[in-house]
Symmetry: D2
Subunit: 394 residues, 4 copies
Amino acid sequence: MNGIHPQKEASPNLLAMYSATRAYTEKLCEPLEIEDYIPQPSVDVSPPKWNIAHTTWFFEEMILKKFVPGYKVFDENFGFLFNSYYNSIGTRTVRDHRGDLSRPTVKHVFAYRKYVDEKISELLSKEVSEEIAGLIILGINHEQQHQELFLADLKYTLSVNPLFPVYDESFNEIECAESGASGFVEIEAGVYEIGHSGDGFYFDNERGRHNVYLHDFSMSRYLVTNAEFLIFIADGGYKDFRFWHSEGWDWVNQNRVDSPLYWQEKDGEWLNFTLGGLQKLHLDAPVSHLSFYEASAFAEYKGMRLPTELEWETASGGFDWGLRWEWTGSAYLPYPGFSKPAGAVGEYNGKFMINQMVLRGSSIATPPNHSRKTYRNFFHPHLRWQFTGLRLVR
Amino acid sequence: MNGIHPQKEASPNLLAMYSATRAYTEKLCEPLEIEDYIPQPSVDVSPPKWNIAHTTWFFEEMILKKFVPGYKVFDENFGFLFNSYYNSIGTRTVRDHRGDLSRPTVKHVFAYRKYVDEKISELLSKEVSEEIAGLIILGINHEQQHQELFLADLKYTLSVNPLFPVYDESFNEIECAESGASGFVEIEAGVYEIGHSGDGFYFDNERGRHNVYLHDFSMSRYLVTNAEFLIFIADGGYKDFRFWHSEGWDWVNQNRVDSPLYWQEKDGEWLNFTLGGLQKLHLDAPVSHLSFYEASAFAEYKGMRLPTELEWETASGGFDWGLRWEWTGSAYLPYPGFSKPAGAVGEYNGKFMINQMVLRGSSIATPPNHSRKTYRNFFHPHLRWQFTGLRLVR
Amino acid sequence: MNGIHPQKEASPNLLAMYSATRAYTEKLCEPLEIEDYIPQPSVDVSPPKWNIAHTTWFFEEMILKKFVPGYKVFDENFGFLFNSYYNSIGTRTVRDHRGDLSRPTVKHVFAYRKYVDEKISELLSKEVSEEIAGLIILGINHEQQHQELFLADLKYTLSVNPLFPVYDESFNEIECAESGASGFVEIEAGVYEIGHSGDGFYFDNERGRHNVYLHDFSMSRYLVTNAEFLIFIADGGYKDFRFWHSEGWDWVNQNRVDSPLYWQEKDGEWLNFTLGGLQKLHLDAPVSHLSFYEASAFAEYKGMRLPTELEWETASGGFDWGLRWEWTGSAYLPYPGFSKPAGAVGEYNGKFMINQMVLRGSSIATPPNHSRKTYRNFFHPHLRWQFTGLRLVR
Amino acid sequence: MNGIHPQKEASPNLLAMYSATRAYTEKLCEPLEIEDYIPQPSVDVSPPKWNIAHTTWFFEEMILKKFVPGYKVFDENFGFLFNSYYNSIGTRTVRDHRGDLSRPTVKHVFAYRKYVDEKISELLSKEVSEEIAGLIILGINHEQQHQELFLADLKYTLSVNPLFPVYDESFNEIECAESGASGFVEIEAGVYEIGHSGDGFYFDNERGRHNVYLHDFSMSRYLVTNAEFLIFIADGGYKDFRFWHSEGWDWVNQNRVDSPLYWQEKDGEWLNFTLGGLQKLHLDAPVSHLSFYEASAFAEYKGMRLPTELEWETASGGFDWGLRWEWTGSAYLPYPGFSKPAGAVGEYNGKFMINQMVLRGSSIATPPNHSRKTYRNFFHPHLRWQFTGLRLVR
């Protein structure tokens, strides 16, 4: 998961931003039954209860405990229960046991949110230091990341249930505004600038505008669609080792993968499980829930390749993006001059820079105001429970 | 888990028995929050929601669907969701994924119970055949077994929560009525009769009164206590391979076992997690939550041994029992002349007769009217989440 | 593997017995290439080098080091390398890493054998105490057990090689002298005596002649044949859960078992890998290399059952046996009055009395003079690399 | 393992090159006992027998079978036994079962080598096509790679043996010619050229000289030494999560890693297992047998970082290298314009370009004439059985 790091202090209306973000999380919870907050069917997903408590814990741990004299924590045990991976802060619930916890109740977790919201509101009712403002913005961005995870995780949990429960019938995953797009953006070889260094919030992993040398390339203006991916399947794409990385081929065979996650063929028809329920597969929509291995194999099959993240950032002004996270051919590694901040916030990004691939863009599950062209998302190459697709380069 | 098989048709007041059993299950649910119904932290335990739905499914599947013309199932999916291990009936939710399901909601499961209760009540309002009566009684005994599992499973789930939630403060696990007992029952060598063959309900695995030859033995009148087990620990019992089976010794070392399940030492004091909450260890209470390996090692340490199930049954008139399931030194195997009934009910007991050890007696979690001296309970030797203790023989 | 315990001191011609046993081991080695001494393709088998060194180590560790003043061990490291499971004696090579060791060389191990043989010969050239004589006999029986393991382990190792190497073309596994036998031995109910207590060597697990009560039974005079087992296969025996223990059914499905070990169907013909090479399946030979699960499923399919070990011992005068170890329906548990001897020899049998089933008789791989009707062999129910078959009871 | 791809046809004296390479392999075998050819104690290493047969199989499969009319294969089974990972060619021995095979004998494998050598010699006694010449050179380079693996694999196998066998007393791993070097090479920012495109052999993964933009950096002239690494250990480097990648930290804890592979502390002194035997740790020698995680943690501890492979190649003229493979901070990914050749040779490099890190330089185990500054070696970040070290950048 994305770690986070704030670069700049905030705008004057910090409290409004804070409140809007917190309200958005609670709006996401509205369709849920209490039972939905609990299960964790895979180590890669977190229960909704954990997601909404952990984002609250972040504000308590990083801000209230440090900067509000005499602050009384809501519950002594929550530091342990809702810490995610911050070794600096102490031991924590092992990541694959988050679904074992029935208590605290959902009601109690919402009380926790309310308590922390009140304390943060008090704090922000007066002028705050740049450090506090920076941490508030960091916490907001952190919660936004968990809003996206909330949806992707929940989708996975609902999907393993043979009842195929509907999260929200009006949730539309299959937008295909781009489907009219066609052709390629052409970029000429040369030295380009990459990375973030301006105003506004950005994470430490995208910091540092710097030169890179790019060779000529042409990048597709549209995302690969379900229809195109169906042809890959029909053409035996999952059964021909030549398109696959060696580890991808092992992954396909060990897991008997033969289609994107959430697809199922029934009586000759392809169905797709979505947050709006089980639906017919929409052919013109961008393909989603691919692993890096699948995205790469598809590109190989087409005789093309994935863009590097540097190419993507450079060409990104030439096409629409935002419906699917786009796998790139770049490993997740530090930019020149990267260094980890001291303390817990230093644990967000740097320590994950191994064995993961970069994704660019954003997805239909990304909350408003949480995307930019320099944003570096990253996942292990076999994972596909996020809304992940691809764009081709030749 | 115990499979089940009815031997005899029922008393005239079947409906009263049925209603009392169903009500008892719902009484056990009263202290629960909705969240408590969901988690499954180990493959050996089932979520409360599953337990209360599965026992209902049993009545629907085995009786209503077969004997009530035009019966309409409550939900087509429940046959799949709440089947436990009956291969005859079709595929089923894999046993270690019961905790992944948020839906159906708890409310919906209670509606399911109510629906089935109404249909069974209608059925029992008139005279029923012997076959139906037998299956009703079987279903009642089945639900009673799950009442005991309900408590043992729930205890395990609450125990892995660092908040140590209390199920019911008035639940008293630590009775020690027997602590006054002392001495040994003496039995002389000879041919004895074992097994059940009279009136009343019994399972197929205890059927068939038959001769066995026993040698002289003396059986303790009381269960081993926490105080005695503490001495074993203090004496290095968990660190001396000589007391252990080879597989028990591996189990101790791989799991770093150094005390009974639910015990923890804190600041020099022994605490014990119970359904009434985390408590000081009660020294005079019978030790509980031992694996067969631990029970056997303790006996070896004392220079004695566990009784065989044949010895236990023969001597059982000479002492009080019922607070803890008692590990015996007998493997769970068929009695002479045992044969599996045809159809799904044949899957209960016979197919588990390998790699398990017999326990005799009953426990503080066993529901009323569900124990008898011929009852054969059985678990794998490493399991200890049930209320299991031991009695010594020399 | 069978642990061992001597009961009685030896005959006057100890040295002759010792030498004959040692020579027999070396005769078994004759067909081997040096390379054959090394691999260990499964945790359940040991490399020939280990087998022949370990039996030597037993004489050095239990006798020479203890009773020969000033004895100089052949190599200090061998105590660690060739100890099997004797915790009393110290740490040891982990059992599944025996195939990782290229050194000591085979030549060096034979030098070790020669060295120990000389020292034992010196010792036995004079009168020895009863204790020493007993340990010599124990060591002889121990080596005989490893002679049988030598062949079964080697067969497994050769079988995983796509070249299907031949151990010895003249090795005949498929004797079927019994095939003329037919009918059943009838035994009447009553109290019988079981166990060993006379002269001659026996293990501690068979010690103690004692009464048991048996019910009427009829035991087949012949072993189940390959032809009979083929019918079970053709009849869908491996695909019908009703014949199987629950754990057996899991074992079948997880390992995709569809025939006895070493069978393979090729171009419509059944082949059988033997120590004499890959051969056509011999229909009249007794079926071999079954797990307990398969033996039990076959009996269930035939509407019969396996004998208990008590029944087997009682009826064993009424038929020929010795071609295949015969699975019984008895768990491996202590006889009445069993107790473990002190020290390392106490680790042989008692600590394995859990989760294993008893086999009676002996097999074509059992060395001469190493079988008797009271002998209790035992293996886990899923294992089948030994020469294991079955006989039916009704 | 490195895949391979030839770029250019060969020099006139192909046969001399071929013969020299084949002879070098056999020279490496001289110190071995037959037993040493067999074990495979880890999936990452191959037995010597497999290494020397596989390199022979390569010449047979890629050249003799394709270009020599009427060529008769030495043994039909070897295609299966000694194929490594070429899916194009058919099924193969599973990689972690190479140590299960006692046959063919070592003698037979040497006969195989001789047979193929004769056939290749015949072939090269006349003029050959460019294609054949290219494949011969490829086969030579392939065998050279396996010469290095031979030593690294053998070292690992010997190391797990408590006897600590010596491969060759004169094998000197601890050269420290560089220890006189000091200071840093300074490189200025700008566009540089990277990759190979000239004459001579190179692999497909290093093909294509192309521009990259580098920022200013300073690279150490010497490799990190054992003495420096000891300070890291003494300073708690293995116990401080802040220096480690998250996955590296898990690796350290799960495997209880506390020093480089082959180090052991005994009576307060550090020993190091080498191909020359167990020795005192040589303080001035370059540290070896580090995983990427350890190399990276050390750099983090020193407040510096690993070079990228692009930096390394650019600066490599300014220092001596060749004693240890040097971990870089670059993931193993395709160069611009990379494409896989058709057929089996296309399976060498491209399909491994995920989850691995690049190493540059060469090691003391690399055969003569098999290193160049554009060479890209690669391994998974947790592996350390190769001769791997590091050089720092600031």
